[in-house]
Each structure stands twice: as C-alpha cells, then as structure tokens.
C-alpha cells in the first residue's frame, strides 16, 4: 500500500527547462559538432605523434602572420555578433542592421583570406621537395587541409545564415521580442570561432 501511495502521489506540473526550444536545440546540435571536430582533432594528434618527423616546423610552410590576422578578423566578428544581439534586445534597429552586416562581412573576409591562403599553398607551397602543398602532401597536408577546410565550411554555412539574418534585419524582422534567431545564430558563430582558435593553436603554432 505504501508503494501504491508513493506511485499515485501527485506532483506539481513540470514543463522542461526555462529556455526556449531553439536555443536548447542549438546547444544539443553543438554537442554533436564538438564530437565531429573532436574526431578530426583526435586523429590529428594520433597521426602527428605517430609520424612527427613528417610535420613541418611552425611557419615553415604555413604563413602564420596572415592567419593570425585572419584569426583576429574572426574574433572581431564574434564581438560584432554580440553587439548585434545586444542591439536586438535594445530594439536598436540601426544597430541590428549595422552589426549583422558587419559580422557577415567579417565572416566573408575570413573565408576570402583562407581561399587566398589555400591557392598560395597549392601553387607556391614548398614541402618535402614536392612543388606545391596539397592535401596529397603527406599526413601534414592531409590533416591541415581537412581540418581547416571543414572549419572553413562551417564558417561558410554561418555566413550564409548571417546573410539571411541581415536581409531579415533590413525587413525589420528582429527586435525586442524577436531576437531568438540572432541569439541562436550567435551561439553557432561563437562556437565556430572557438573551434578556430583551437585549430589555429594546434595546426599553426605548435
């Protein structure tokens, strides 16, 4: 009988977290993204320790200064993203437009620099005698292009969404009570930024 009472005992209604669904969804999705990059980075570490002699010294092949600038650009874009969200919360339409546009452009700029870096490497890169540094250039080339390439792909997706959000901004979609989209997009953007900082460290600097 004690059992019975325990089982039937009434409880106050519960309605999940106090966070709106899209945000939860994005957090969940990002967990999966973490595992994806963890897979790539993990393999990178294993392969590099397995054959460290086939790795170039930092700066030997890759142009660290240029990429450092690029990293800075991406970090700036994170800042502007934050400002865009703040503007939305403050219902500052001009701010929303300005900062979303800025973030989009910075993201695009990052991609531009990366594209330039790739072409330079493929055409003029020098690595272990092979003329031109390609994904086929040993484990070093393979891991470099795969990891930075997939990050670039994520940035690209982000830029597409940002462009969409910017257009919406000019249509006046965002505002005081309509900033979920921007916040969720922001989460993704900051994640991509974070991943880049890790990649920049282990691929370029170490």
């Amino acid at each position: 009988m004690a059992h019975a009472q325990a089982a039937i005992m009434d409880r106050p209604p519960e309605r999940g977290l106090d966070v709106y669904t899209q945000k939860v969804g994005m957090w969940v999705f990002l967990c999966s993204e973490v595992m994806f990059f963890a897979g790539l980075i993990g393999s990178y570490i294993v392969l590099r320790f397995g054959a460290s002699d086939t790795w170039a010294a930092p700066g030997e092949v890759l142009n660290v200064p240029v990429t450092a600038v690029n990293t800075f650009i991406l970090i700036c874009s994170s800042v502007t993203m934050v400002k865009a969200f703040a503007a939305a919360e403050a219902d500052d339409q001009k701010g929303i437009k300005r900062y979303l546009l800025l973030t989009t452009l910075l993201g695009a700029m990052f991609l531009g620099v990366q594209a330039f870096e790739y072409t330079e490497l493929v055409l003029h890169g020098e690595w272990q005698g092979s003329h031109g540094f390609t994904p086929a250039a040993g484990l070093y080339g393979a891991t470099f292009f795969t990891m930075t390439g997939f990050h670039g792909f994520h940035v690209f997706l982000g830029v597409v969404c940002l462009a969409w959000a910017t257009i919406q901004a000019y249509r006046g979609r965002w505002g005081k009570d309509h900033h979920h989209g921007i916040e969720v997009l922001g989460l993704y953007w900051h994640f991509v930024d974070l991943v880049w900082i890790i990649l920049f460290t282990i691929v370029y600097l170490i």
């Binding site: 409880r11 999705f29 595992m35 390609t134």
Partner: protein, 592 residues
C-alpha cells in the same frame, strides 16, 4: 542551421498546417506521425533488400559448387557463368551488414518510433522542430538510393565488410572496388547528418516539450530509451562522419590518413569506427529494450519491476557504451594492456543488461499475462537477447576471444542481439502500435503464426553458428570447403541455409499481414491494449496535433492492477486515481 533559426515553435506550424495539398500532407509533411510512417515503409523496404542479400550469401555458403538459379539475370560482374563471384560475395557481406544496420534497424527503431512515440508519450503536439524532422527523413532517402545504386557501378558495391577496415577499403587497386566504396561513404555521411538532425529533435523535444506533470521519472521507459539513444547517436555519429570523410579523401584526393605507405595508421580507422560502432550497438538495442519494457508491463498487467533500476541501467549502458569499443580490437595489434582494461569495462556493461533481463522477468512474475502477438515478441526478445548477452561474455574474455574472434561465433552473437533482440522487439512494436498508427488491428492469428515461425527458424539459423564458430569457421569466407579443419560442416551450413529461407519467407507472412490489415484489419478503438501511457488516451490514429488539449500527468507510466482502482486493472497517466471512468475500455477519447 538556417532551418533551426527559421523554425517557429511546434504549435505555430500546427495551426498553419490544417487542410493542405496531398503533397504537403503525405509527402513533405512535417507531422511527426506521417514522417514516422514514411520511415516505416522505407525501412521495411530496406529490411527486405537486406534479407535478400543474406539469402544470396547463405546459398553460396551452403552450396559453393552450385550455380545460382536465375543468376543469369545478374550482370557478369556479379554472377559469371552461373556462379556468384567472390568479389560479389564480399559486396553481399558488406552491404547486408550496412543496409541492415544503417537503413533498416536503426532508422526503424529511431526514425519510426522515436518520431511516432516521443511526442505522443510525453504529451506534446509535435516535435520541437517539425521541419527539421521532415528534412532528416528526406536526407535518408538519397542516402538509401546511393547505397542501392552502388551495386550497379563499375567495380561493384563496397566489399570491405561493413566495418570498412582500411587499407582494404581505401585502396581500389587492392579491393577492386572504386566508385562503390565512395558512394557507400557519401551515403553514410548523409545518413549521419540525417540521424544527427533527428537526435537534436528528439532530445530537445524530450527536454522541453513534456506535458504538465510529465516529470523525468514519470516518462515511459520507451521515451527514456529513445532519449538516451538519441544522445548516443548525437555523440557517436559525427565521429563516424569525420572518419568516413577522411577515408573518402584517402580514396579521392590522395590523402593518406589510414594508408601506411605515407605514414597513415590503419588502426586509427578501427579506433574511430568502433568508437562510433559500439555506441551504435546500443543505439540498436536500447530502444528495443524500451519497447519491450512497455509491452511486457502492459502484457503482464503489472507496473514494470524496478522502474528506476531500468532507467539507471539504460543510462549506465549508454555511458559504458563509450568506453568499451576496444573489445572489438583485441586481436587487432592494439596494445595488449589496453585489451585488459577494455575487458573490465566490457564485463561491467554486462551487469546492467543482466539487471534489465531480471527486471523483465520480475515484471512477468505473478502477472496476468496477456499472450497476444506483441507480448509474444517482447518475451521472445528477452529470451533471445539473453542468449546474445551470454554469448557476448565469451568474447569479453580476451583469451577466449583469441580463438573465436572473426569466427561464426561472432556472427551468431551479433545476430542474437540485432535480430533476436532488436528485430524481435521491432516486430512486437509494430504489432503493438499498429492500431495507433493506422487505426486498425493486425490479424492476431497470422501474427502468432509469424511469431512461432520466426522464433523456430531464427534459432535454427543462428544457434548452429555458435557451433561453426567453435569448429573455427572464419567470417566472410566465400567457400569454406577448402580448409581441412572445416571439413564436415557442410550439413550444418545447408541446414542453416534452409532455415534462413524459411525465416525470410515468414517475413513475407508478416508483410502480407501488415498490408492486408491496412485495409481489412479490424477497426481499433483508442486503447486496444488497455494501456496506461498517453498515446493510448487519444483517438487511433491521432489527429494532427495529437490532443484536443494537452493532457496533465498525475503519476508514473505503468499503473496496472492498482489496488485502489477497482473497476479496471489499469490507470492512465492522465487519470487521477479517484477519477476513473466506468467503461473497461478506458476513458472516452477526447471529442474531436
């Protein structure tokens, strides 16, 4: 990404959803129930294909020196002058495994039932992201088409086993397979995306869209299982995608992640694959355990024995599932010391499985067993899964694994878990939730015949394989007759093949019952099994939006035979104990 952003809340979609074109309603529908049914038909199709491949394999193993009847219709690259070619046999092995795992069992467990049951059992109107849900189905379709197409490209379909061990899978010149392997990998990446999007949806829905009063420990075990499964898929699939992409690059753009010639590491592939692969095994069994718990509780008219223990067992299995992958690699050249630690974690994971088995039996104990088809399949699951679990102990013990690794003992084990386990539970689930899905009952007599045939043939097929494993018959061999230690097993192999044909045939009995009942089946009332969970407290099939108004939950999921409830032997989750309706059929479905 854009989808999530563009996604309004479930409700918003619902209201704009009423009365649309056939196309939006049945093809590009965002209603979780319709999507679940789309998944159901697709996966049943793949189940049939996968089975067909198995039949071809079995024929070759049983009669290696006979020509394949009707083999003439197959292209020269598969069957030459009447004989199945070794390279085609390898493709059969590979594609049977891949299709069954990735396109039949997994999407049937998750795509169909996570989709159908989660919103209904937690009292939500739909998934958190209905449009994302639709996309994850429409991503699976091209993936499936790529897989089927790969049979007909130059070089044939992937032939390195479903585990795709590099370098064989990465070197067309060594495997003879070019495009087929690449298609396999591409379809895998697409499928991975599909199931990741699905998981995001399921997890978010469970976290945020439970009905009032549906606390975590009032959720039906099915929801628990599917929730944990979604987490496993969410964390395991991306690793496989990453690995698959690297392997694809090895083949196409000249990288060498897994090719030793340029410093790559073949074992890295195995680690990545099994880091995914073992959670995958639990992705394939946990939902089945959930269905079984549900059906056994309802079928025994008893609350599930040790509900919390069941929940924690699921959680424990999921967690341990991520640290046991190495037990697939004891003989792979991995450091033997690692092997030891993986033995321990592997033996540990057997404990929660044991707990669940005992709890199911505890639920049946002193019950009032309703032995209808779903219940039979659920009990069959417990019985077969027990065998699968026990035979797993042999492999967990590393020294024994030295001998039985890569023999038919493994084949027997995996089929007792995936067929005797997952598929039995799935049959049970189909029979059990069919009335809710289609508003009609499946034929009970045919169902029972199907169960007994399946049970008998299944054991005739897979139990002898333990014996073949002991004799030392290696997996994936096209013709065993050449080996002196494999003399005298022809009879066993032929017996297995005949039984396999029977098993496949009984599948068609099921298919007939399934489709016949769609039109001719007895009309089903809202709650044909007198079950307690929420999906049964709304009409069959539920209208778009599931509920007139969102139900309020007062207690746990399996309140059967409660002493305070006198007029019937069950109490729905949205019923207060004092408010019980007169009719034994349960509360009248909400008016529509």
């Amino acid at each position: 990404m854009a989808t999530i952003v563009a996604e309004a809340t479930g409700q918003a979609i619902l209201h704009e959803e009423h009365g649309q074109s056939f196309l939006r309603k049945y093809i590009f529908s965002t209603d979780h129930k319709v999507i679940a049914i789309q998944f159901l038909f697709t996966t049943l199709f793949f189940l049939m294909i996968g089975g067909l491949l198995a039949m071809l394999m079995r024929y070759q193993i049983a009669w290696p020196d006979r020509t394949l009847p009707g083999g003439g219709i197959l292209p020269e690259t598969m069957v030459s002058s009447g004989y199945i070619l070794p390279e085609f046999y390898n493709s059969l092995v590979t594609m049977h495994g891949s299709i069954m795992v990735f396109f039949a069992i997994m999407p049937m467990l998750v795509g169909v039932y996570a989709n159908y049951l989660i919103p209904l059992q937690i009292g939500a109107r739909d998934m958190a992201f209905p449009r994302l849900n639709m996309i994850s189905f429409w991503l699976m379709v091209p993936a499936g088409l790529m897989t089927l197409a790969s049979f007909f490209v130059i070089g044939g379909a992937a032939a390195a086993g479903w585990t795709l061990y590099a370098p064989l899978s990465g070197r067309p010149d060594l495997s003879g397979v070019h495009l087929g392997q690449q298609l396999w990998l591409m379809s895998l990446v697409v499928l991975g995306l599909s199931s990741i999007l699905g998981s995001v949806n399921y997890i978010t829905t469970v976290i945020n869209m439970r009905a009032p009063g549906m606390t975590w420990f009032r959720m039906p075990l099915t929801v628990w299982a599917l929730f944990i499964t979604a987490i496993l898929a969410l964390l395991a699939m991306p690793v496989l995608s990453a690995a698959g992409i690297m392997l694809l690059f090895d083949q196409t753009i000249g990288t060498s992640f897994f090719l030793p010639e340029a410093g790559g590491q073949p074992l890295l592939w195995q680690h990545l694959f099994w880091f995914f692969g073992h959670p995958e095994v639990y992705i394939l069994i946990l939902p089945a355990m959930g269905f079984t718990s549900e059906i056994i509780a309802a079928g025994s008219r008893k609350p599930i024995f040790g509900y919390k223990a069941m929940v924690w067992a699921i959680v424990a299995i999921a967690f341990l599932g991520f640290i046991v992958w190495g037990h697939h690699m004891f003989q792979s050249g991995m450091n033997p010391t690692l092997g030891l630690s993986f033995t321990i974690s592997t033996l540990l994971i057997a404990v929660p499985s044991a707990i669940k088995t005992f709890n199911w039996m505890g639920t049946m104990w002193r019950g009032n067993l309703q032995l209808h088809t779903p219940m039979l399949f659920a009990i069959g699951f417990v019985a077969m899964f027990a065998i699968g679990g026990l035979s797993g102990i042999f492999m967990a013990s590393t020294p024994v694994d030295i001998y039985i690794h890569d023999t038919y003992f493994i084949v027997a084990h995996i089929h007792y878990v995936l067929f005797g386990g997952s598929l039995f539970a799935l049959f049970g689930a189909i029979y059990y939730w069919y009335p809710k899905m289609f508003g009609r009952m499946m034929n009970e007599t045919l169902g029972k015949v199907h169960f007994w045939l399946t049970l008998v043939f299944f054991n005739l097929v897979f139990f002898p394989m333990h014996g073949l494993g002991m004799v030392g018959m290696m997996r994936r061999i096209y013709d065993a007759t050449g080996y002196q230690h494999l003399q005298g097993i022809e009879d066993t192999n032929q017996l297995i093949t005949w039984a396999a044909f029977g098993l496949y045939a009984s599948g068609f009995l099921f298919a007939f019952n399934f489709f016949w009942s769609l039109w001719k089946g007895r009309k089903a009332e809202a709650n044909p099994w007198s079950a307690t969970t929420l999906e049964w407290q709304t009409p069959s099939p539920p209208k778009h939006g599931n509920w007139k108004e969102i139900p309020v939950v007062y207690h746990g999921p399996h309140e059967f035979s409660h002493p305070d409830v006198t007029d019937k032997d069950w109490l729905a989750q949205n019923e207060r104990p004092d408010v019980t309706s007169p009719a034994h059929t349960g509360p009248a479905p909400q008016p529509e």
